[in-house]
């Protein structure tokens, strides 16, 4: 059976509410992600999105593609910081078959085409 085509997945522009919702849901209250003065004092242009929010969006792309509970392995690398106002879209391709599923390459990109998170996954697909 051939894999389904990759679905469209995009999100944004990111708001402070998105970051606060993620902070509360994940239990991650690092001030870099909600305290503008603190973020600027750390040398950033403003509050930065959680890397794990971007990772989570990429995970949601995979579950939209192959279904809930499909993931056997999911690994991401954080490449660029994400800030308020950024729009993100996911891309992926099947790079091979594994026992009972597929191996994927993944990227979450900003509107300017820069990949902020890249990753690989293995999914079960009957």
């Amino acid at each position: 059976m051939s894999p389904p085509p990759a679905p469209a997945f995009s999100y944004g522009p990111l708001t402070l509410t998105d970051l606060v919702r993620y902070a509360g849901a994940a239990g991650d209250f690092n001030r870099l992600h909600h305290d503008d003065a603190y973020a600027r004092a750390a040398g950033l242009p403003g509050v930065m999105a959680h890397g794990m929010l971007s990772a989570g969006l990429l995970g949601s792309f995979v579950t939209r593609w192959f279904g809930a509970g499909c993931v056997r392995r999911f690994k991401v690398r954080f490449r660029e910081k994400v800030f308020l106002g950024d729009r993100l879209s996911a891309e992926g391709r099947v790079v091979g078959a594994v026992e009972g599923g597929y191996a994927l390459e993944l990227a979450l990109k900003r509107d300017d085409g820069v990949a902020v998170v890249t990753g690989t996954a293995e999914v079960a697909y009957p």
Partner: protein, 138 residues
């Protein structure tokens, strides 16, 4: 296996899963029960990570960046089950930073197992980097 830094038992709570799934815009957030998204275990380990960063290591957060994150599942997590989580440091290395100073890279692994019986269902691994200067990664 005496090298675990911490061990705790947590339920995979319906409402925590739903709220997390909504926060990452997972299509399956409204399912009954909701299905834990791939990165959901970060919720189960957040208290430990907070303690690790602020007390156990500790790290300067203003110059610490998240490098990589990995999940391995032998089966999907299920809402309502209780998991035994055990955390350990897989590696902790120091090397010269690009602009001088020392850069510290460490990898933490959280093993997720059934609380009753101890069957391992998966792993979470996170790589963090305490940079020599200001935060410059993701």
């Amino acid at each position: 296996m005496s090298d675990f830094l911490a061990e705790w038992v947590v339920p995979v709570d319906w409402m925590k899963v739903r709220d997390f799934a909504r926060a990452v815009h997972d299509d399956h957030a409204a399912a009954e029960p909701p299905v834990p998204p791939p990165t959901f275990p970060i919720v189960l380990s957040s208290d430990f990570v907070e303690r690790l960063v602020t007390a156990l290591l500790p790290l300067d957060r203003s110059r610490t960046v998240h490098g990589e994150q990995e999940y391995v599942y032998h089966r999907p997590l299920r809402v309502g089950e209780r998991l035994r989580c055990r955390a350990r440091i897989l590696s902790d290395t120091t090397k010269a930073g690009r602009r001088g100073g020392q850069m510290r890279i460490f990898v933490v692994e959280v093993e997720l197992a059934e609380a009753e019986g101890g069957v391992v269902v998966g792993y979470e691994r996170m790589t963090s980097i305490e940079t020599a200067g200001l935060a410059e990664g993701g």
